[in-house]
Each structure stands twice: as C-alpha cells, then as structure tokens.
Amino acid sequence: MEAVPARARAYIACVAAAALLCLLPAVRASWWEAALLAALYAGCERAAARWRFAGTFHPVLLAGAFLLPPPAAALVALPGALLSPVEQRPRWLRRVWRAAQLAVGVWAASRVHGALGGRDAVVASDFPYALVPAGAAVLVFCLVLSLLDGGILALADRIPVRRAWRGLFLHSLAPVAVHGLAGLMMAVLWRSPYGPVAALLVLLPMCVSWWVFAQYHRERAAHQATIRALVQAVDIKDEYTRGHSERVGQASMMIARELGMDDSRTEVLRFAGILHDVGKLGVPTRLLRKDGPLTPEERRVIELHPEYGHEMVRGISFLGEARAAVLHHHERLDGSGYPYGLMGTQIPESARVVAVADAFDAMTSTRSYRRARPVGAALAELERCAGSQFDPRMVTALVRALSRHGWHPAVTADETDVPPPRPGVAGRLGARR
C-alpha cells in the first residue's frame, strides 16, 4: 500500500468509527483490571518489537475478552496497538487501522463469551464447560479479524475477496486457538485466589516459544544466504555463467509445478536447479575460462563436475532427491550421457527435470562464444531432442508453463541481500530490519 486509495481510507474510517462505538458505553466495572491488562499488552508489544519476537500477544487480548465486559475488553487493545512501532508508511494510518481492528475483534469475542455465560464459568472455574464459550469467542475473534483483513486487502491491494478471506481465516485459526487456550488459563488464574501474579506466569512459555520462532526465522534466512554463497563460489570461478544457476532453479520449479508436484518437492527441485553445477568448483579455473575448443582430455576433466558436485552436497540431508539431480543432470534418455550412461527411467525424475531446465537456459542466455537464442527457437530445439536426449514429459511441461506464465528470469546472482522471511500473522515478521 504505497499510496492508500481513497476507498481504503474510507473503509478504515468506518472500522475506526465502529471501534469507537464499541468503546463508548460507560462501564463502571473494574477499570483497574482493564488498565493493568492494557499496560501488560502495550509492554509486551514494545518488548516484542525490541527483541524481534515473532508474535502478537493475542493471549493477553483474549484473556481481557474472557475477564471483562465488552467495552472494557476492547479498551485493552488500544494503547498497545496505537503505540506499537510500525516500519512502513503511512504510520499513523496503520496504527489506527490495527487498533480499530483489534478493538472490534476483541469486543465481538467478549460479547459472544459473555452471552454464553463464559464470565461466570471463569469465576467458578467450571471445567470443561468454560471451554465452550472460550472456543466460540476464539472463532468469532478469528472470523472478525480475517473479515476485516480481507476487506482491506481487497480494497487496497485488489486481491479477490473470496480467496483473501478463506486463506486468512484458515491460516490464523490454529495459532489463535492456541492463544485462546493460554488466554483462558490466564483468565481462570486471574480470578483465582492466586491472582494476576499466577496469570502472568502463563505468558512465559508463550514468550519463550515466540523468541525461539524468531531465532528459527533468522537461522532460516542465514541458511538461504549460505546456499547462495555456495552458488557464488561457482560464479567466482566461472564468470560468464553468472545467474545461470538461479535461472535453472526457476525453470526447474516451473516444470515441477506444472507436473503437479507438492510444494516441498517443488522447493527441493528449485535447490536442485540452483546447485546443479556446484561441482564446477572442482574443475580447474583455467579450463572453465578457456575460450578455444577443448581437447578430449580437457573435456573428460570437465565431465567430472557432476560427480564433484554430488560429493559436495551429499552431506546436506534436506536436499533429498536434489542430490541425485546434481549427479545425473547430464545423463541422456538414450544412454549416451555421463557420468553413468543411464537410460530412460533409470535416470531419476529430478535429474530429468533439471536437464531440460539447464539446456533451456543455456540456449536462451548469451555466452562469450554465441548470442542468445529466442525462447521459441530454444523450445523448438528442446522438442526436437525430446525422446533421445530429454524426457518429453518435462519438455511439454516446460512449454505449457512458459505459455501460461511467460519467461521472466530474475537475475539475482549479484544481489547479496537476504530475502525477508514469510510474513506471519498481521505482518509482524515483515518488520525485520
């Protein structure tokens, strides 16, 4: 949302007005509890931003919804959301949006919880009945948040409404349910003789798990960078193929998607494409950079690179079948390839995918000894060699994928920045550095 459209602004204003309506009714009951919870929520949000936790403190909000009447519960969300640091502009609009959205959500949750007699169940710690209103409140909270979020996505980013809603609701339900259980525990202990001190203890395991999840995302980003460094080590030696690995990774991924492979296998095939030439590290630099024709002896040395590559990556267990792809990506269907001269289905599927992607990118990119061919000519050449050199299934998949999405190779080999981790609930993860 760089420039926020007018209708999105109007939408936010409506939600904010609704939030104000939720807050308006004057209540006399226990303002100190609302103030205490609000301070707790605000403090947690600040701490989370400071130490880069990955999480929003829904347990505190939901505990408020289980403990307090709806207007007071809605108030709990306000200070934390209004004071929370926001990275992207426009800052105040985002803060107001977040506060209004949470206030409406908590208000609705608290309302449902109260209507089902949840507050009495919490005071009497009437288990298992207390789980019923709490579960209903969690559902409502989740539903309201995803409805509002879907609305803003549809208005500001023009994402189709139905898709936005379904994805948001299903993804947020499980985490919010866990937060709801923690909130219920907080509420029960808060009302018990042991008081708020015991309720605070509930937050500690949650905080630890958020902290560990943040560490996990950091380590994951570091791992991506390490893979990239592995590729850059090849680029140091073999300059004119710069970007080739990334593009082969992209083409392999497109083929895998087109063949209907699941997400984890697609990801593995992307790594297979990225790392397929890593064995070139083992080939003397002079040979790789040689301009003239190669002698048979030199050719034999270069043809060792799949085995070198396999030797390097075989210790990385998460790569799975990508390791076989690294070893066999120069095999041909008719058995005339190397290193083992495998035929047909003896060649692992992953290697057949990478072989097609590799040949396609080699033809469509400029090398020192020839100019790039257009995509159409390259595809025609692939189809000509299908059956003898390439698996026709993979070639057709590539042709179909390209006709659907086009070929927009992103040259990222020169970039050294780490990709941001996937955005989590309410985009908090996106707020790193």
């Binding site: 018990s192 203890l201 395991p205 570091a222 390490t226 083992g282």
Partner: protein, 426 residues
C-alpha cells in the same frame, strides 16, 4: 616438558569424577527404590490424581527427542513431574500424597514412557534418569512435608504462587549444577563454562518448564485435573519451536560443512582437512573455557578458514598456508572473510577468518586457536608416526610471534588426553 605432570592430573580428575558419577547414580537409585518400597507398603493416596499426572509424564516422555544439541529432551514430562511434586490442592480440596509417592509415580511413568525409545536404542541415559529422580525428589521433599503439616495454610494466594515459583527456580538451579557436574565428570571439560552454559540454557526452555510446572500446580488447585491437557498446549508449542529451530540449525551446519569442503573438491586442500581442524579447534576451545556461542563461532570459522583459496587461480601446493609468506597468508585470509560475509553466518565468524594470519597478540582468541590448530594439522599430517610431537615442538618454538603460548599448551593437553582415552578404550 611437563607431560608427566599433565598425565597425572588428568587421571586424578577422572578418578574423582567417576566417583561423583557413582555417587549421583547410586543416590538416585536408592531414592527410587526406597520410595517404591514405601509406596508399595502404604498404598496410593488419591489414585485418580496420581494416574492423571502419571499419564502426563508418560506422554511427555513418549515425545522425547534426543540429540546432541537438545537441552531438555522431554520438557512436558519434566514440567508434569515438577507440578505433581508441588501439588497441594485439587479443585479446592487438599491433597495428601507425600514426597515418596511423587517419586514413585514419576519413576513408574517415565519408565513406561521410555519403553518405545529403549526399543529403538535411544532411551534416556542413566545420567538423565538420575537427574530427573533427584530433582523431583528435591522439590517434593522441600514442599510436601511442610504443606501436609499445614505450614502454608495461612499464606495468601499470591504469596503461595511466588513460593512455588521460588522453589521451582531453586530446583532448576540445583539441576543445572548437577548437570554441569555430571558433564564435567563424563567429558573432563572445565566445569565453569559447562555450568555457565547450563545456566544460560535455563533462560530458554528451562524457564518455560519451570513456569509451566508452577502454573499447572496452581491451575489444578483451582480447576481440577481438566487443567492438565489445557495447560500442556503452550509448552508443546515451545517444544515444537525448539525442534524446528534445532532442525534448521542442523541443516545450516551441514550446508556450511559442504561449503567448507569446496576447497577440498577444488583440489586446494587435502580431503578432510577442514573437518579435522574444526573438530580439534572445538576441543581446544573447550579446554580454554569458551562458552557455547563462542564455540559455535569457532567451529564455523575453523570449517571455512581456507575458503579464501577459492579465489586463487592456481592452488597453493598441498594447501599448506602455514609456510607461505605472511603477506600472502593475510591476502588469502581477507579473501576468505569476504566469502564468509556472504554466507549469512554470524559476522564474528568472518572476523575470525579474516584475522587468522595476524600476529597472535592482536588476534581474538578464536583466531589464535584456528591459526595454531591449522598449522599443527598441516605439519603433523604427512609426517608419519613422530609427526604430532615434532609439529607441537615446532609450534612451541614459534610461540613468540606466530602462535599464542596458551593455545599451544591447550592443544598439547587435548592431544595428550586423546592419547590417553584411545589407550584406555583401545
């Protein structure tokens, strides 16, 4: 040389430590046997509650995940056991089980829960079982007799909650000391850094276990046994997070090890060099009392210390950088640092790699270790049976400028220790 003295010191330590281990194991066994006999004699108080907590501990134990980097293998089991030790009421009615029953139930449940793991050969070690018994026994003996006498009857609610928390924190501290002592006796690494690592680990999943233990005891007092499944969820979430973190760490480690092997594949260094330097550097770092994060930086730096050679068009003969002119060594080190900076590992690793060729007075400790161990590895590698001793002697002679004396001495200690262990086991 001081070899004789060192050998004597090492064997003395090992004797004292195995004595400690025997003491811990036998007292845990005694406690378990005594409690079991007593409980069989008197019978169970409140069998329903005992069964519920037993099931919780057993389930936690079934979820056990073992591995070299796991700090708390079965957090749910530990939290369940501690909360049973500190349980004073059940849904408002006072309980009457004593410390003896607590130990018995936890013993039985953890034995039942570890059956499948034992079947797979990954059961809890004797050390872990002994620690579990002793810590639970400690918490229960501190709490149950006083509670059953009614000492806490007139305490207010919040004060009681804080009391439980304080007791559990004390128990966790004792457990950390015990764990460090046992690790010290097993591995003969220095005690202080081990204790520091254990205490630091308490802040992570350890604090989650302590908080959950206290909260469960309080929640069962308020809401009855229904609280147990509800209150296990956040801890399970923590456990999941810790596992995923451990998995991605392991993956990253493997990738870095592969990157380190790039120089070997490319023919710049002999096979296995990086791995050997990393393993030996870690041992030396441990001997010098580095903390766990420092050891991780040291290991990564040692794995990638030769990576700058990838930028050379022609390899150095046999990859032996220790005999090159200093200016050339520094150039390779700087090139290596530039590669390491792109890998996304801690920036401290790149600093160590960059400064491995500096004069030792200006180096950080990790760089000193990498430099000395690398030189030792290169010199001792092809020198035949007498190689290690000659290489050490050369390093000692070079200590004035190139190699830090304390690092060389630590290396000598580690090597003599390895000789001892191989003589004992082989």
């Amino acid at each position: 040389m001081s070899g004789g003295q060192e050998t004597g010191a090492v064997s003395k330590t090992s004797r004292r430590c195995s004595w400690l281990q025997v003491l811990v194991h036998s007292s845990a066994a005694l406690l378990a046997l005594g409690s079991l006999t007593c409980t069989l004699w008197t019978g169970l108080e409140e069998p329903g509650t005992a069964l519920a907590f037993g099931v919780l501990v057993a389930v936690g134990e079934l979820n056990r995940r073992s591995g070299p980097h796991v700090r708390e293998a079965a957090p749910l089991g530990a939290a369940g056991a501690l909360s049973y030790a500190l349980l004073g009421e059940n849904a408002g009615a006072p309980t009457h089980h004593g410390a003896v029953q607590v130990v018995t139930i936890v013993l039985a449940a953890s034995l039942v829960g570890s059956v499948p793991h034992v079947g797979r050969g990954q059961g809890p070690t004797a050390d872990q079982q002994a620690r579990r018994m002793l810590t639970v026994g400690f918490a229960a003996v501190c709490f149950q007799p006083l509670y059953n006498q009614g000492t806490f009857a007139h305490w207010g609610g919040p004060a009681y909650a804080l009391l439980l928390l304080a007791l559990l924190s004390l128990t966790a501290l004792c457990d950390a000391v015990l764990a460090a002592a046992l690790a010290h006796s097993r591995t003969r690494w220095p005690f202080a850094p081990l204790l520091r690592d254990e205490l630091r680990a308490l802040l992570g999943i350890g604090s989650a276990v302590v908080a959950t233990g206290a909260v469960m005891a309080l929640a069962v007092a308020v809401a009855g046994l229904w609280a147990l499944p509800v209150f296990s969820v956040p801890l399970l979430l923590t456990q999941l997070a810790v596992r995923r973190y451990a998995a991605v760490r392991a993956t990253n480690r493997q990738t870095i090890a592969s990157l380190a092997r790039a120089t070997e594949i490319a023919g710049y260094t002999p096979a296995g060099h990086a791995r050997r330097v990393a393993a030996l550097s870690r041992e030396v770092g441990r001997d010098l009392g580095l903390t766990r994060p420092e050891l991780a930086v040291l290991e990564y730096a040692a794995l990638m210390h030769d990576i700058g050679q990838l930028s050379l068009v022609d390899p150095v003969p046999a990859g032996a950088t220790a005999d090159l002119p200093v200016a050339e060594q520094r150039r390779i080190a700087l090139l290596g640092g530039a590669v390491v900076r792109q890998t996304g590992v801690d920036a401290a690793v790149a600093v160590v790699v960059e400064r491995q060729a500096d004069p030792c007075r200006e180096q950080p400790t990790a760089a000193r270790i990498v430099r000395a161990v690398n030189a030792y590895e290169e010199k001792a590698r092809d020198a035949g049976p007498g190689g290690p001793l000659t290489a050490l002697e050369e390093l000692r002679l070079g200590t004035a400028g190139d190699y830090a004396p304390e690092v060389v001495e630590a290396l000598a200690r580690v090597l003599s220790r390895d000789c001892l262990t191989s003589a004992v086991t082989g």
